[in-house]
Symmetry: C2
Subunit: 185 residues, 2 copies
């Protein structure tokens, strides 16, 4: 918890020489985006290492299949577009299939090939939009919080969405890693 | 499926209408610590919900057991104490058993009861120390980076350790959730 007794003037008014050219906000945004990109890269590497056949296996007996998690992560990341003001979801149907429905309850899934493409495309679009956002914009409210609530809770900004979605991704990455050496069961 | 997406981060600061006037640095720190505390709380809830017998099960066939992940996470969090300048590791032996050694290669593990206590104690000590750190201190270098490197890479600060360790925890939390309804195999 932040100790209120330790409150000090904003650091960007009192930069150490190591940070003299970069506002602290920029450093903070880098920390958050680096963590996002690290988890996306690792997850991408796992998906690339898995065959379509491996994707059809369950991460553990009776649990979600790899292909469901591929669709799930793509749908959640696609939903970030409107949440962050980057435009409409591109694959709204995925949300119903891979977020609102449990695995193995929908028969008509997109192909693994299509899902792999949607996954890459969605993360690329997010990255492009991230790179265009100004420091000020990162600290503006996201689209799932009201102006009134945001005035009281300024941490509910766009950058906080990245922190939370990075953790969501990390939760599932840990599960996907279990598929890597899974042999037929 | 268990989805962590909609969980709201707990608020660790007293809310007040003056919060919008708080320095942005304080908001950053809150965002990062909220995410940490959320993942710790969820992991704690999973461990509390598992019996000692369930902890001895593998998260997936041939993979790590729950008890190994309990020791692993405790050892990694214990290592954060010296890294963040909070003092020495309290359980240095855990690091050898649960980080440097793979699961099922060491015969002489601590009891589940002891590990559960170490886990809680370690996170409590971290929390206490977090609450004492000033805004300025959070943006100072951690103890695994040199002064020279930090001058060029100011993102390698103490707060960044929290971001990275939160993702590490999230990776394993996703795996531990698989144990929750695991029946005998």
């Amino acid at each position: 918890m932040v100790d209120l007794l330790n409150l000090q003037a904003p650091l960007f008014l009192n930069q150490s020489k190591s940070q003299s050219l970069k506002p602290l906000e920029e450093t903070f945004i880098k920390m958050v985006l680096d963590a996002w990109h690290t988890q996306v890269k690792q997850t991408d590497d796992v998906f690339n290492s898995l065959t379509d056949e491996q994707l059809l296996k369950e991460i553990a007996p009776g649990k979600n299949r790899g292909i469901y998690l591929l669709g799930h992560l793509t749908a959640v990341h696609d939903r970030m577009l409107p949440l962050l003001g980057f435009g409409d979801q591109r694959y709204p149907n995925l949300y119903k299939t891979f977020v609102e429905s449990a695995d193995k309850t929908e028969n008509d899934l997109p192909s693994a090939e299509d899902l792999r493409n949607y996954w890459k495309e969605t993360n690329n679009i997010l990255s492009e939009n991230f790179s265009k956002l100004s420091i000020t914009e990162w600290f503006q409210k996201h689209n799932a919080v009201s102006e009134t609530d945001f005035a009281k809770q300024p941490h509910r900004n766009k950058l906080n969405i990245i922190i939370n979605r990075t953790n969501h991704l990390a939760n599932h990455l840990g599960q996907l890693l279990l598929l890597k050496t899974r042999t037929a069961e």
